[in-house]
Homo-oligomer: 719 residues x 2
């Protein structure tokens, strides 16, 4: 039986545009999220469980337990496939709950599934520690390093800052005392583009501020073990005071400089004369377009994921979505050197803000809402996803023959969201193309995290007075759970390899330098952590089904084609002293594992709370399992190796801060699927009729075509 209650579980998403064709999804979107009613009922139930000792968020202090998160617990793939492919009922729904346990000397986050949903009979509702999807087996609990965030500022940081107020006034003409009129701030990360270059180190272990220890000061590459030592040096002759940065228009994003006359004219703009050509079930977040179909899921940690992606009825991917985003800095100062943000800690969901229509996406796009949990209720970011077709400014196919020219419009569909995690805005787009290709593209903008420029020319360019563009790597990990004509898939590496050989027709005494194709099936997880390219060969990786061959005996599959400016998708730093075991997923370009319900994600938002023993240690997924004709998950890193320049001021430009990957059919169909579109043209020369493709070779007689005018067949609607 289908769970009809759950079928209306998705009012959190609703389209604000209505020009698309309304359809009914063939299945329930089991990844779509909880309803407001479900969330409220789970919160209510949790607050009634005495053993959890929970306090409502509004009443809670740093020593109370609170409900940090209530969202859908994503069902196991094995259960969902029974539903989608074998007529079973949809999987039982559970809520994924995270508690902030702080009424203790050892604060932690505790993860518990609660259900089954809906909560109809409270006596059958249970919670259990969540452990099976994690490599760390500690009852779903991990320490919370941030439990005393407010106390740290009020009882510790501002007191330290106050102890040197004479120096901050002298150096920066500013104070950081926790007052409304503070002009400088104390920050562990994100000094952004106004860093001042004064650092102190403290040990805040435990929850008792009286036991916290100040361990030293750092300025101008000199370390002082105590405040007294720093003060003494500061007032000694010869103490070098460094210049500091001054805020100004250089740091602002508004229009600056002379305006070019032509720029006052409206630039070109994409319009959709016939409205949307995609179809949508807004209730189920189910999209169809030109043979593609997929369901949209959304979560706190990683924002948008898409599920059950099919083309012409056949599933290509079970799941496609972001897992984690790392930005790892380096520098001679302790903040830059120690910064390695794992952004799912903050969560992409709550920071997926409303899109700017006509800028982030075309005005005619279909805009959808997203929602997130905060303080016992669900909040909505309206118009924070967009779905639109676009005309790439080049055709997908074109060819001039002696008798005609043919060309085909390259229209594609994009599903986009933008998540602003502090300083950086990640624009993440999933694209769908007429040849059956599926793409991911990530672009970054926003403010860089920069460094005070002192002794760090080996860590970045100086980009403003007293400012160094701090070098860093962005690595974004995506999960692509391929199901090519079933779940039994294999990995084929196809390499162009230089060779020296002779042939039946060639001189046996004169071997020829040429190349051939090397095809190899990867056997197991012992060899499935890959970097491209390897040595002098050019290697292509495809996910194929060796049991699903086409009529020419080639395995049908999809190729994974990176499309980033810099080929390397992995972290530059080897064995990062900051990350330790928290992000082993970042160490190779593409990594492939056997699918398991207990290995659903490459990372966990609280991996940064205990880097030596993270909740998910990706290394442990690689235990040598066989990868030949089994269910495969491809973990793909998209990277930007960023050495900021003056051109990153005020914001990084998205034209160059980009990384992407495409999944391209390889012998999957018998021909190019873009031949199906009617948005193509064939224009004849002379008699207007082609003589057949066999004539293409006779291109020598170019003179025949001189001054024949090609007339576009398209009439533009608006004249």
């Amino acid at each position: 039986m289908h769970n009809l209650q759950a079928r209306s579980a998705t009012t959190l998403f609703s389209g604000t545009s209505s020009n698309f064709t309304v359809i009914k999804s063939p299945n329930e979107n089991v990844w779509g999220g909880l309803t407001d009613v479900e969330t409220a009922s789970v919160v209510q139930w949790l607050l009634q469980q005495p053993e959890l000792n929970l306090t409502a968020a509004d009443d809670a202090g740093e020593w109370d337990n609170t409900i940090f998160l209530v969202e859908l617990m994503r069902p196991n793939k094995s259960d969902v496939l029974q539903y989608l492919d074998h007529d079973h009922p949809p999987p039982t729904r559970y809520a994924h709950v995270v508690l902030a346990v702080r009424a203790t000397l050892d604060p932690c986050y505790a993860e518990i599934p609660v259900g089954p949903l809906p909560i109809t009979d409270k006596s059958t509702t249970t919670w259990v520690p969540l452990e099976y999807p994690y490599t760390r087996k500690t009852q779903g609990r991990i320490r919370n390093l941030d439990a005393d965030h407010d106390t740290i500022y009020s009882e510790w940081l501002y007191k330290i800052s106050a102890s040197i107020v004479d120096i901050t006034l002298d150096l920066f003409n500013g104070t950081a005392l926790g007052l409304d009129n503070d002009t400088i701030r104390i920050s562990g990360i994100n000094p952004l583009i106004l860093p001042l270059g004064l650092f102190f180190k403290s040990d805040v272990t435990g929850r008792d501020p009286s036991k916290w220890k100040l361990e030293g000061w750092f300025y101008n590459n000199i370390f002082y073990e105590t405040t007294n030592a720093f003060r003494k040096a500061y007032y000694s002759p010869g103490f070098v005071k460094l210049p500091s940065i001054t805020e100004g228009d250089w740091a602002r994003t508004d229009q600056q400089g002379p305006i070019l006359p032509e720029d006052q004219k409206q630039p070109p703009v994409m319009v959709a004369p016939s409205g949307a050509r995609h179809s949508l079930d807004t209730d189920q977040k189910y999209v169809t377009w030109m043979g593609f179909s997929f369901y949209i899921g959304f979560s706190r940690d990683t924002g948008v994921s898409i599920f059950d992606i099919r083309y012409k009825g056949q599933r290509i991917l079970y799941e496609l979505g972001l897992q984690e985003a790392l930005s790892h800095y380096a520098g001679n100062d302790p903040v830059q050197s120690s910064t390695a943000c794992l952004d799912s800690y903050y969560g992409f969901g709550p920071y997926t803000f409303e899109l700017v229509k006509g800028y982030d996406c075309p005005i005619y796009a279909t805009y959808l809402n997203t929602s997130f949990y905060d303080s016992e209720s669900t909040h909505t970011h309206v118009d924070s996803l967009c779905l639109f077709e676009y005309d790439a400014e080049y055709p997908i196919q074109r060819h001039t023959t002696p008798s005609y020219v043919s060309s085909t419009k390259n229209i594609y569909l994009t599903l986009r969201s933008v998540s602003t995690i502090g300083n950086y805005d990640y624009t993440i787009s999933y694209t769908f193309h007429l040849d059956g290709t599926i793409g991911i593209e990530v672009r970054a903008s926003g403010y860089i995290q920069a460094a005070h420029s002192a002794h760090n020319t080996n860590y970045g360019y100086q980009i403003h007075s007293a400012l160094s563009g701090s070098m860093h790597d962005h690595i974004l990990n995506f999960k692509a759970d391929f199901d090519i004509l079933g779940t039994a898939n294999s990995i084929e590496l196809t390499s162009l390899v230089p060779i020296t050989t002779t042939y039946q027709w060639s001189n046996p005494n004169q071997p020829r330098n040429t190349m051939h194709l090397s095809r190899r099936i990867l056997s197991s997880e012992t060899e499935s952590r890959l970097n491209f390219p390897q040595s002098a060969t050019t290697t292509m990786l495809s996910i194929i089904n060796q049991d699903a061959r086409n009529e020419y005996s080639e395995s049908r599959g999809y190729r994974i084609l990176p499309s980033s400016p810099l080929s390397s998708g992995y972290l530059t730093i080897i064995n990062s002293s900051t990350l330790i075991h928290a992000a082993h997923w970042s160490e190779h370009d593409i990594q492939i594992t056997k699918q398991h319900d207990h290995e659903p994600r490459s990372a966990h938002p609280y991996n940064n709370q205990d880097v030596y023993n993270p909740v998910i240690n990706f290394d442990e997924y690689f235990d040598g399992e066989d990868l030949n004709q089994t269910d495969l998950v491809v973990w793909i890193n998209l990277a930007m190796h960023h050495v900021p320049t003056t051109g990153d001021l005020p914001n990084t430009v998205m034209t160059t801060a980009v990384a992407g990957v495409r999944f391209v059919p390889v012998n999957y169909f018998t021909g190019d699927q873009s031949r199906g579109t009617v948005n193509m043209v064939r224009v004849g020369f002379g008699d207007g009729e082609g003589k057949g493709i066999g004539e293409v070779e006779t291109f020598g007689q170019a003179g025949e075509r001189v001054e024949v005018v090609v007339r576009p067949v398209e009439e533009v609607l608006w004249g």
Copy 2:
């Protein structure tokens, strides 16, 4: 004195659109081509020189000398800079003439400059052998392997084919006899997608057909030394006849298959409500747009090049243009194994055909004509260049702060042409971006050259019945002559390098694993042939001027950022037995030389006529010259390593057949230049006013922004 006569020398190009702003170029386009009058006068003068013994093309046979080409002889950079930068008159104009010398037992091509132009006093007009720009010093003469093209077919190939007509009828139900009703053809290259798998080898050395020799037959991986041996085997029991390909809809580009209902609606389309925002001197082919300016040149061998590319008044590049396109195949049969097309032999200019409006470029684009020389006169391809702005479907900048969101439209300018060299259509685009970036993008479509499928699974996938997609590399070489604030430039390699180190503030007994920046200036041509990436480091290459530093002491420059899906830009084959010395430019990703007037190009169209001793041997450009603060030329390879799949039938799709590079400002300005555009928006939340960028860190309070609706400030003109 400016040469006013030459100033009107450019009627061969003329815009057919008129919605752009008409401007006057500040200088004469000295690369713009000859006038019709100049060409005609040179032809007339040449035909009058008895020592050349020339015959008019219409009257000429294979034993006559003819004028193969008359076009502008591009002036030396050293002379042009005197004109552009030092108020000298424009360089004296010469015609670049190629003669097909065939009234001899040793036919050759002879290159001669003729001038000065215009020819006013014939007694002062001279011709000389052209030798100084070539590494091969043979008086500008190189043998012509194709002098007897017609005779080879009539007196040799068709006779051989006739000798086995019984076999071709039996195997293919076809004959190749040189008749109008031939159903098969004999071809040395380009069997395209209907190859039959029967080969013969002949020695056609010399011009006397009676001395030509048939040297064997090849079928089903068996070599037969004589026709008799082949025939005997053919009629012996057990001879294996292979299946052969059948033409059909699978090989045709027109619409096929069921039409999706939504596809009948018009898809989105870019429009330009205010018309063109670029300005143009059509006479001088001089373009300006948003601070950029450049001149368009055009030649037989390589089509479009652009010159004197400036941004905000400063020259960035003296010259940017295609040099050569190589497509190198491999296979077990002699045709695939020996095919290495060097396309400038055919020439990109004559095959730069009229563009399909609304498909190859937007309807609103400005279309320009190109012209080429053929048989003593100039021919025009109308509307074969296009120039248009486009709105990338993502902003160039965007950032959400707690109090506002800002986003900037990403409008760019494209100059595009499409050259169809036989089977392949190369779409070449030069792009200009609001941040000062300049890009090159090449996309390929058209018919693949495929192989008959027999014993060649190691050379490609089988993609149709009896058809193998023949593996090949496309390598396109571009010249980028950078002039960053003058001609004295240097090459900086900036690498992100993993390191282990300690800091003043860190525990000396616990070295940290981190990374730093390695900056290196390349010293000379001994180390300037580069591949990316190198080992574990991620390396960026910039052309900088160490004598032009910004106020923070960083050298101003432009970074060279590849943007191709596969990082390798060089030929897979090592020391190709087909190319020998004809294309050493193809062996690395990026190669940099000191600029010399005598090294203007990396390749020559007749390099394929004598691969052991080509006209230009690129290796010889690397003679150890110092590259520190000197005039640099960067030779960049854009590559597609192509293993065709069923998705290449009928045509290769341009979504994945792409390679590109971008030149991005590095510390060239003090900030991002896209801040100059007015096509940006800032939308405030709450009180509508930003509190300043210093507040960006306070992103924790996301709840504040819940359900605040961002209203787009742009009104779309058409409602």
